[in-house]
Symmetry: C2
Subunit: 409 residues, 2 copies
């Protein structure tokens, strides 16, 4: 038996060496079982049915936070309870005396069917990567300053469609819409520029009342954990519609998230200082803790890695995004999701969208099978994974957010 | 006893002549009672506790659609059930034999406390009034074509914050944010340009699956009814943030809705042909029924009517908005709200926002008390009411959406 983690405690579960799901991770998900939707965690190659463990009495859960069918009761419970529940789960998986009775709650990770693990409130998508915003500016507005004048003064963001956030594995139907055609004209048809955006999302647990700001210092009190996000985008539809009120149908057809929410506690070792901000932002945007995160994404098309975007370089950090989102007194609800915006590094092979990777289709990607991609083709499967700094501690896995493009019906 | 309506049936409830809440209306709301949140309708000056009537067995409700605490079970039930429930309520209020036992379910409308009557899914706000969009274009971009080139080809819209949609009567805390200052700069502070937007909103009942479009012809099948909307706006915050992803904090601090959802059936007499569309829109946007609505809004500041925006002139109609919103396969959820965008007529006293009424503050309104308003002052109460064409049938009332501006804490 190995722990697969640097935790001082050891689990009785057989965890393969180098597993991204050691005792230090313990992400939360929800799977479909014959008894309904159950809350689970991952350990090694197995999944622990926490709802069952709670029902069987081997895992203390006096408030029913793990009963299912979603993570919302746990999300709503707040930081002290999050810490307590995590401690109970570590206890369960390290207590040899409970090993036999807990065995029946273990499932092979390959056999479970994940569902969207929580009910969303609002979904906000930011645009907080300087390299991405610069690339987009250069591609879409070639003869102007690539960054708009507001970009370094606030984390630009907008509301997306919460109702079309789907769990990894959900097929993405190629959307139709009005695409630019001729001078200022448009024609209706299938998108020809179906793209991805590799992002990291933050799931809000503790709500906040209307009319009250949430300071950057309250990030830990409100944010439960992290998911991987693929913000599918139809670039042609978006290009025609987005002035002056922003993206709408170019984004709202689907946003995929990973099946696991990795709790903030598991990312403590990945916290780093973010890039220096110049100019210094307004007071309400100043951080009191470093919430840069040393996480590297891996973007695959049909299994082949095409990019490794580094989250460490993000200009605006999630504590700043949280403070910004509520600076006008907007309340938070349990289940709100806010995503970072596309993550792109300086190198070509670190860009988090095809519009950047292929420079708006001018330089298509050549895949290992010899085919080229300017944008996505029907049948393509895109998956995004991520790892934290492997050099300091064993890496933490996030699972994957995957989706296959299918033709319109 | 009078019916206060042109319905062929007569109610045993005493309805004052000219009441906007006759048997032809029967809007749905939810009020706070000692027994929880109950579903109600309005008749004359009274409110009927439908949850109680159902519990007492005087109103058939076999599926518990009226049990509370929200309208969502009714919204999700679909058009045939909506028709049946409405028929049962008319039956209850016209059946003399049940009058005595129903009396104990009647409450004085002045005594009830309304809550938000349904749980929202997503909130979309359109921008579908040509006069409003033209006014904004002239004010904000004086030396260009007032309408963007996409405006007449699709109903421009964006997602707003569903979590800050509040019921009429909720105070609106003056928001802060980054306002433009100097050349491309900004400073943080209280908004100086707090505005309103008078709109009509449409509440979705029947959901639709991801990947499937909803045609204009399915409007009646999906849309349950109508609310009045005040989309509060901080013009200075919005001006600094909105390029390129659209409005965010300038809108997300509060959106107020009326406590009543008026069912579509009650608006049949108000349906009219909308303005001619030129150019003809894409096929998916063509209407098969007229969903122009002859509704006049009344906007009051501190009780004084300052505008009467005519909804009849809206360029894009709600069936087109519904088809557009789903043209990319985005699914609908029970409780989704989509609003028309600000309603403005051609005359100065028909404009639905202060930025238009005062031409961006250049020509302040002079109120009856001698004070002037460029934008809203702390303590101001804004209310919006509406009536349908009174000349053909007795008018239908929508209640009011009201809110008072309070200073930031």
């Amino acid at each position: 038996m190995s722990t697969g983690s640097a935790s001082r405690e050891r689990t009785w579960v057989d965890v393969p060496a180098g597993s991204p799901f050691g005792l230090d991770n313990l992400p939360y998900g929800v799977v479909r079982t014959s008894a309904g939707h159950h809350v689970v965690t991952a350990i090694g190659d197995q999944v622990v049915d926490l709802s069952a463990a709670s029902a069987f009495g081997v895992l203390p859960d006096p408030d029913g936070l793990l009963a299912g069918p979603s993570l919302n009761p746990l999300l709503a419970a707040g930081r002290p309870q999050w810490t307590q529940v995590r401690r109970e789960i570590v206890g369960l998986l390290t207590d040899q005396a409970r090993a036999a009775s807990t065995q029946r709650c273990l499932l092979d990770a390959r056999d479970v069917v994940h569902v969207l693990p929580w009910e969303l409130g609002d979904y906000v998508d930011f645009y907080s990567c300087e390299q991405h915003a610069t690339n987009l500016g250069r591609i879409l507005r070639p003869n102007t300053e690539p960054l708009n004048s507001n970009w370094k003064q606030l984390p630009v963001g907008y509301h997306g469609r919460a109702g079309t956030v789907v769990v990894s594995g959900t097929h993405v139907v190629r959307p139709s819409g009005l695409r630019p055609s001729g001078d200022d004209g448009a024609e209706y048809g299938l998108t020809r520029r179906l793209d991805i955006e590799a992002e990291i999302g933050f799931v809000v647990g503790t709500p906040s009342p209307l009319g009250r700001r949430v300071p950057t210092s309250a990030f830990r009190a409100h944010v439960f954990g992290v998911v991987l996000v693929n913000d599918w985008s139809a670039r042609d539809i978006q290009a025609f519609e987005y002035v002056p009120l922003g993206p709408f149908l170019g984004k709202s057809f689907a946003t995929s998230v990973s099946p696991w929410i990795v709790p903030l506690e598991a990312l403590e070792h990945a916290r780093i200082a973010p890039p220096q901000q110049d100019p210094q932002p307004a007071g309400y945007l100043r951080s009191v803790e470093d919430w840069g995160l040393d996480i590297t994404l891996q973007v695959r098309i049909n299994g082949e890695i095409v990019s490794r975007p580094p989250f460490a370089g993000m200009y605006w950090t999630p504590d700043q995004q949280l403070a910004h989102m509520t600076a006008n007194g907007a309340g938070l609800r349990t289940g709100d999701l806010f995503a970072s915006g596309t993550v792109s590094g300086e190198r070509q092979d670190q860009r988090g969208s095809l519009i950047e990777l292929t420079w708006n289709g001018e330089s298509p990607l050549r895949l290992a099978d010899g085919t080229e991609r300017a944008f996505l083709t029907d049948g393509d499967t895109v998956s995004i994974t991520a790892t934290t700094r492997g050099d300091l501690q064993p890496h933490i896995g996030f699972g994957e957010v995957a989706g296959t493009v299918v033709p319109a019906r």
